[in-house]
Each structure stands twice: as structure tokens, then as C-alpha cells.
């Protein structure tokens, strides 16, 4: 122990001096009852109050320590109301937690059933949609496909192309095309 500790103890002893010191008596009575035999639970509780619940020295005496019944009742009522409010809040939180759990379970169930029934959106399509949106290109998916000639009973271009060379007017059309090409070339040259 240092010199300061000694001096601090001296100061504290002086500060404590003259204050209520009933601990020695209660300690003696407690030791006597322990020696006399087994303590009942009531005795133990009483000694607990004597020995433990009260500080041995009330270093700061600032008025009495007892309160009247009306104040005690007010204090108890406030504390009870607070305790009941806390318990109610706890119940409400539990209810909220259960509701949130049920909601999550429903979501998981929906996701699972959509997956099982094949309603899951394709990842590739989703990625394309996202890329299109990022490029700000308008969607054309709502424009229907043009009707195909076969739908009207007409032959397709691939079917009629081999027969075109044998058509009588083909020679005439080819000469007109050649004349247009020559005219265009000479105009470009003159410029």
C-alpha cells in the first residue's frame, strides 16, 4: 500500500466518522444466529436485509429515506404501468415477428411453386431486356410479324426466282436496268 493509499484511507475514515454505524451490532447478531443453528428462509431474508441490502454507512445524509404511502403508491403505479407497457410492447413485437415470418414463408412458397410450375422468367430474356433498357432502345416486341406469302396462298420468292429467266418480259426489264445504270455513271463522270 502506498503513502497515498494510507492518506486516502485516513481521509475516508474522517469523512465516514460520526455517521450511523450499526453494522457491528447486526454483524454480531447474525453471527450469533448462525452459530445457534440452521436459519429459516425468513431469517436468511431478514439477515440479507441487515447485512447486504443497506450500505453500512450512509455517507451522504440528505434527508430521510422513508416515503409516505401515497408516494409509494404513485411510484408503484408508474412502475407497474411501465412494466405492463413493456410487456405489451414485447407481445406486439412478437406478433410482428410472427407476421413477418409468415410473409417470408409465403414469398418462399410462391417462388418455389413458380419454379416448380415453370413460370420462372428466363435469365437470358431478362438480361436482354436489361441491356435494351440500358441502351434506351424502345421495345419492338409488341410489333407483330409481317404476314408470310404462304399465308395468302402465294409462292415465295425462292420458288419463283428460277422461273424468272424464262419469263418473256425479263429481257425488256434487264435492258431498262442497264440504261439506268449507264445514265447514272455518265452523270457522275460529268460532275
Amino acid at each position: 500500500m502506498t503513502g497515498f493509499d494510507d492518506r486516502w484511507r485516513r481521509l475516508v475514515d474522517a469523512a465516514r466518522r460520526g455517521e450511523n454505524a450499526g453494522s457491528a451490532e447486526s454483524t454480531a447478531s447474525h453471527a450469533g444466529s448462525v452459530r445457534a443453528g440452521a436459519e429459516s428462509s425468513g431469517d436468511r431474508e431478514r439477515h440479507a436485509w441487515e447485512q447486504f441490502a443497506g450500505p453500512k454507512h450512509d455517507a451522504v445524509e440528505r434527508g430521510g429515506t422513508h416515503i409516505d404511502r401515497a408516494r409509494a403508491a404513485r411510484m408503484a403505479m408508474l412502475a407497474r404501468t411501465h412494466a405492463e407497457g413493456r410487456a405489451r410492447a414485447l407481445r406486439e413485437w412478437r406478433g410482428l415477428a410472427v407476421a413477418a415470418g409468415l410473409f417470408l414463408a409465403c414469398l418462399v412458397g410462391l417462388a418455389w411453386s413458380a419454379d416448380a410450375l415453370g413460370f420462372t422468367p428466363s435469365i437470358g430474356e431478362t438480361r436482354q431486356d436489361i441491356a435494351r433498357l440500358a441502351r434506351k432502345v424502345p421495345s419492338t416486341s409488341f410489333i407483330p410479324q409481317p404476314p408470310q406469302p404462304a399465308e395468302f396462298g402465294l409462292p415465295t420468292l425462292a420458288e419463283i426466282e428460277p422461273k424468272l429467266a424464262a419469263w418473256p418480259g425479263a429481257h425488256f426489264l434487264t435492258s431498262i436496268d442497264d440504261w439506268f445504270t449507264l445514265t447514272q455513271t455518265s452523270a457522275e463522270k460529268s460532275q
Partner: protein
């Protein structure tokens, strides 16, 4: 100190049945002890009444968790709850500014604390004043451990039981708190001298 004739188990049973008078009786019987424990914390930011009320709010909120069958007397349970509630509340307490004026006698005690001067033995009020001022400058945990150990003269084991700290932690905290107290006292002496 008046000895309480309190049968806690009966009161608790009445409380569990919703008897409002049981709560009042409980407050009436335990108030002196709760108030003394609250005062042992020497709070300067909170009034004793506020802290007592806080203790009762906590006590009634946790009362259903107390079971006499655990072998823990209600007094011990309540003491521990009081100490812990006060510690929690006071943890946010702003420490008092250091420049609190001391009386001349308290100043003499201060000088005798930091040097080997003669002690004004008769001046116990001044000693108490100095102790209050010095403890108020400490952090709540330091203040609590010194208050319980030196002023209330509880044993290390009792403090450990009350606070839930280990015996070693109580000793270490007390040692560090005294060291901080010494620094504070020496600084005060220097400030008084300058």
C-alpha cells in the same frame, strides 16, 4: 436503520395475482435500501428520486424473473439490480468540471492527501466535502468501486457479487481508481497553487 418485516414471497405472490397494494407495500418496504444504494453512487447529474424511480421501473419489469427458489434472497437480488441499473444510467453521466471551489478546511485536507502534512482531524465535514468533490470527478465505475470499498466498507467479494465483476476486476478497478484519484488530487493542488 429500521429493520423491514417483509415477507417477500407473499408480496410477490400477491403481485403476481395483480394486487396493486402488493406493489405499494414492496416500494414502501424497499425504498430506504434502494435510496441508500442510489446515494452510494453519488450521482450529480441525476436526482436520487429519478434514480430510485428508474430502479423501480426496472424492478417491476423484471420481477417475474425473480424466483426465491434460486436461493438468492430478494434483498441481494434487489441490491444487485439497483447497483446495475444505477451503473447503466450513470454511464452516460457527464463528469463534473474540475473547478469546484473547496472550503479552506477541505483545501487543507487536499494538501494533506498529496503530501505528508498534518491532518485537520476535527474537520470531518471538510473531509466529506473533499471526498465528494474528488469522487464526482471520477468515472461512474471508478466512483462506485471506491464508494463501496472505502466508504461503505464492503468486501471485495460483496462488491463482486453486487456488480457481477470478478474479485480480480474489483481489485484492479479499485487500484486504477485510486491512481486516477491521486492524479486528480495532485492536479487540484497545482491549480490551487497557481
Amino acid at each position: 436503520m429500521t429493520e423491514p418485516t417483509l415477507d417477500v414471497s407473499i408480496l410477490l405472490a400477491r403481485w403476481a395475482q395483480g394486487d396493486p397494494d402488493a406493489a405499494t407495500e414492496l416500494v414502501l418496504h424497499t425504498h430506504p435500501w434502494v435510496l441508500r444504494w442510489v446515494r452510494a453512487h453519488r450521482s450529480h447529474s441525476f436526482s436520487d428520486e429519478d434514480l430510485v424511480q428508474e430502479v423501480y421501473l426496472t424492478m417491476f419489469a423484471k420481477l417475474d424473473r425473480y424466483s426465491p427458489r434460486d436461493g438468492v434472497p430478494f434483498a441481494h437480488w434487489l441490491s444487485r439490480l439497483t447497483v446495475n441499473t444505477c451503473r447503466d444510467v450513470l454511464r452516460a453521466e457527464v463528469r463534473r468540471p474540475r473547478l469546484v471551489g473547496l472550503s479552506a478546511q477541505a483545501g487543507e485536507w487536499l494538501e494533506s492527501l498529496t503530501s505528508e502534512r498534518d491532518v485537520p482531524i476535527a474537520e470531518t465535514h471538510a473531509a466529506r466535502e473533499l471526498v465528494d468533490v474528488l469522487l464526482a470527478e471520477l468515472a461512474p465505475d471508478d466512483r462506485l468501486v471506491l464508494s463501496l470499498l472505502d466508504l461503505q466498507q464492503l468486501s471485495v467479494a460483496e462488491i463482486a457479487q453486487l456488480t457481477g465483476w470478478s474479485n480480480t476486476l474489483v481489485k484492479v478497478r479499485a487500484f486504477r481508481a485510486r491512481r486516477r484519484l491521486r492524479t486528480l488530487a495532485e492536479r487540484r493542488v497545482r491549480e490551487q497553487g497557481s
